[in-house]
Symmetry: C2
Subunit: 200 residues, 2 copies
Amino acid sequence: MGTQATERADAARNRRAVLDATERLLAEGGGEHVSLDRVAALAGVGKGTVFRRFGNRAGLLRALLEERSRALREGIESGPPPLGPGAPARERLHAFLDGLGAIAEGNAVLLSAHEQACAEDKYDDPSYRFWHRHLRALFAEERPDLDAGFLAHAVLAVFDGELIRRVTPPGDPRRFTRSVQRMAAAMLGQDDHRDPPPGT
Amino acid sequence: MGTQATERADAARNRRAVLDATERLLAEGGGEHVSLDRVAALAGVGKGTVFRRFGNRAGLLRALLEERSRALREGIESGPPPLGPGAPARERLHAFLDGLGAIAEGNAVLLSAHEQACAEDKYDDPSYRFWHRHLRALFAEERPDLDAGFLAHAVLAVFDGELIRRVTPPGDPRRFTRSVQRMAAAMLGQDDHRDPPPGT
DNA sequence: CGTTATGCGGACTGTCGGTCCGCTTGAGGG
DNA sequence: CCCTCAAGCGGACCGACAGTCCGCATAACG
């Protein structure tokens, strides 16, 4: 990704211009009227260029989303704990949801647009699969008795742009993230972030 | 709903024809190419008729969905326990998810199409709001310490047509429902469907 | 059977995602 | 410095679709 091995200078420039234009349109109007015509016009390139670079509408939005989440992905794979490997599953889960929640809260409109565009092949999206694998592994480690794969889908299902907008009151931008974290904790069991239960 | 106070006979006939045609198109091809042109053609009516009756694409799909879920809704409001009023929250929750899960499993394609069409005003849909209110009340009753409203959204978020298709293996059509029920039980706490905890 | 307003149909419009192909231009070798 | 040529560009073009509109048909009723 990023810059291809051999990418002509103008191609790279256009790539950025298109991405920036998309971002601006998303920020200005509601995400719904981000048509590819408009993106191309605002970026000052032809429509064909957009398609050659990103394949289709979904690809364009996905590229933007991946740009936003690359750091989180790398942090999970090889960063320091508690996000990266090494911390207990509960803490990694908390850290992961904190990071993903922040991205989602800051890009709710982009998220909606992407969901819309991806129709329903979003479950094949590499990013989705990565988050899902990670969550599944964490759940499986902590609660081998539950269906970790399903719980992972359930947690991700809540990352819906419109829902995030609805549950985020003005003046408390991290409320969504906290709700998700508490829900995930509830799924794992009562002992939220306290010591192990007294039953042992 | 149903039949308006004064509805001309041909109007009622067309209404049914359109609904049936939509159903057939949904069943045959994948839900994506259920264009209103096609629905009108198959129903043997003009396009204008479809729009006059249902307002728009989303309205058409919603009408079909409401038809499918009317019985469940009535059962919740005034049917016998455990679905209707009177049973403990845990049991009502289980019964509700059983009913809603059955509808969702049997109408996954319709569900996808509806999500697609509703873009993101699905949270204003009367049906959605009804399910949400019900769930929220049940959660609040059992776990007043958690954010019942958010949990209700989280449970409903999982009712996604494409997800249902993905997690439903051939030969186990109720697997999705069971997964949802177990997840909801986990949200409420360990004592799944057993007797009250020994702490009392 | 006459009257009327309710409902009908399908041509029409505007927009969008996506394709295609002739032209331009960056980049490297002579 | 210029020549070559493929990588890249742009925007005309296409088909499909949601939604509108208005002249016409007909159900309902006395």
